[in-house]
Amino acid sequence: MSVIPDGHDPFARDRGGPAQPLLSVSGLYKHFPVRKAGGKKQVVRAVDGVDFDVLKGETLGIVGESGCGKSTTAKLLMGLIERDAGGLLYDGQAVGERAMPWRSYRREVQMVFQDSYASLNPRMTVEQSIAFGPKVNGVPGREAVERARALLARVGLEPRRFAGRYPHEISGGQRQRVNIARALALEPRLVLLDEAVSALDKSVEAQVLNLLLDLKAEFGLTYIFISHDLNVVRFISDRVMVMYLGRVSEIGPSDAVLDAPAHPYTEALMASMPSLDPDNRTAVALLAGDPPNPIDPPSGCRFHPRCPLAEEVCGVTEPPLDGIRPLHRVACLARQPGSGHARAPNPALAA
């Protein structure tokens, strides 16, 4: 079913079938040069070798602390900033090449930003903002406005009341619904949500999350959901990817990753979430050591200075992202058989 009434079926655009990932990212790199006072040229390694797939119809959550590179990854995926290196395949086709130029890619992949106010042009009405995308892509004006109004209704904003409003006249939650409607206006298959609910009040956040789930089911969308809030990610994601200092540290089904984390960093993240149970207080902070510096990351495994399981080999070898269970990959020497780590499982016993 299409986002637009009487629209064509988006599944008709499918090429590779369910086995082919909708989005396939390999070897993604982005370094930002930084000019220091001393004159030395240094680099912020915002995204430093990221590989992952996004399967059709799933919600992939991306979590990590500030500075881990998740927002930069989002911008790279959207082409808002140019990647230094790395492959991007959309339904099997290389993005930016002749078969899938950026313009076509942009009609399939859309993004919802964190700041609901800054994402809307203060001088345009809500319906003008939503209709802009379709108009620019050749939809006649009248039809684009109809489409905008239909979408407003679908996200729960009565068109008669909201279509002619300006962003500063509506609340944060309403604005974020407008942003979602705008993202859907071009009938995408993949929607990137970059901290889309982080700035909302809790009650509003719940409503918007439920709306997102509704829309996903109805229109067969695939989501990438970036957040720092582990509870939200658990609620909405099928799989979760944990990032640390520009690299992926763990990726797998959300229940597996969040309830039985394999990577020490994920474990520490989950444990440091304050519990609502007064008998279960967090006495000691699990994350010791200095917060990471993306300009000068530690050698070997980036997490080793703060890791309770760290050994000498961790400071030397950078752990690859290897599978330890079906669909569950971890970048940690302590979990990989034959890595040289004392706790590594015996290769002979690995299933």
Binding site: M78, L80, W102, R103, R106, R107, Q110, M111, F113, D115, A118, S119, L120, N121, P122, R123, M124, T125, S129, F132, G133, V136, N137, V155, G156, L157, P159, R160, R161, F162, A163, G164, R165, Y166, H168, E169, I170, S171, G173, Q174, N179, R182, L186, S203, V204, Q207, N210, L211, L213, D214, A217
Partner: protein
């Protein structure tokens, strides 16, 4: 896992709509729009409205001047030189060649307004174009354009205006050209700064994601947001322009006699300050009044444009 999005749950959003925003049956609620809001607020500002009325009055007088002057502004009489204010025939006195002051002041409004406003208008168009382009495109284009503009910024505006006028020679056209040169860099700088501030906003990113071309984004998304501040800044330049333009004529670089223009009149009446000081000062009063009116109006416009969050 999912909950229906009902009107009740929406109410928790805490919308900012007030009671009078309820939609009548079948009609779409439309807001006043940005300029509508500005106008609405401006009309309620007594100082700005007063200033606006003065400007309007002067403009009307200037347009109608050739037909409504009580006497011929060019006809003088050496016998009736320098009559004082309150004279039976010449209510505001007569100048050093015996010409009626009221008539000359009225006709002078034409030229003074013209050489004051025109450079700002032209500079607005040119300066905005350069500034918005530099601001949106960024990179080397921006650097080259703005450094060139900086060279002109290195001159104090009065100096630049006079130097250019001096080089080009006297005359209305030359004055307008040199003043335009003075204001283009100032407006361009403001335009570039406003556009750069907007360029990084998320909604511009969102517009890029919809596949629109740079030109389309500039036209549809950027322009509406930058024109306002640039326009207000430009109106604040009008009073400066009028003073400078009259100043040029005062130095003999602008309008040439016998055309009446307030600055030129100040120059020719200078020698009369010992004999008839009040009349000698009159043209300056006109410049002053119009200049203040433009400034107050521009201030009111700026105040009306601030979006209340």
């Amino acid at each position: 896992m999912t909950a229906p999005v009902t009107a009740a749950s929406m109410a928790l959003d805490g919308g900012l709509l007030t009671a009078d925003d309820a939609a009548p049956e079948g009609a779409f609620v439309s807001s006043r729009g940005f300029w509508g809001h500005v106008g609405h607020r401006l009309v309620r500002d007594p100082v700005a409205m007063g200033a606006g009325a003065v400007i309007l009055l002067v403009v009307i007088v200037a347009i109608l001047a050739p037909w409504i002057t009580p006497m011929d502004p060019y006809k003088g009489s050496m016998l009736r030189r320098l009559k004082h204010v309150g004279d039976a025939t010449y209510w505001l006195g007569s100048d050093e060649l015996g010409r009626d002051m009221i008539s000359r002041l009225m006709l002078g409004a034409r030229l003074s307004l013209f050489i004051g406003v025109t450079p700002v208008l032209i500079a607005f168009v040119i300066g905005s174009g350069i500034g918005i382009l530099a601001g949106y495109v960024g990179g080397w284009t921006n650097t080259i354009l703005m450094r060139t503009i900086d060279v002109f910024f290195a001159f104090p505006s009065v100096l630049l205006a006079i130097a250019l006028s001096g080089a080009l020679g006297a005359g209305i056209f030359n004055s307008i050209v040199s003043l335009t040169f003075v204001f283009v860099p100032q407006i361009a700088r403001v335009a570039e700064s406003v556009t750069t501030g907007i360029r990084r906003r998320d909604y511009i990113d969102a517009a890029k994601l919809s596949g629109a071309s740079a030109l389309t984004i500039m036209r549809v998304q950027v322009l509406g947001n930058v024109v306002g501040p640039i326009f207000v800044y430009s109106t604040s330049l009008i009073s400066v322009s009028m003073i400078l333009a009259s100043g040029l004529s005062f130095l003999g670089l602008g309008v040439r006699p016998p055309e009446p223009e307030w600055g030129l009149m100040l120059n020719t009446l200078r020698t009369a300050i010992y004999v008839n000081p009040v009349v000698a000062a009159l043209p300056g009063v006109c410049i002053f009044v119009v200049s203040i009116a433009f400034n107050l109006f521009s201030d009111g416009l700026r105040a009306a444009m601030e979006i209340r969050q």
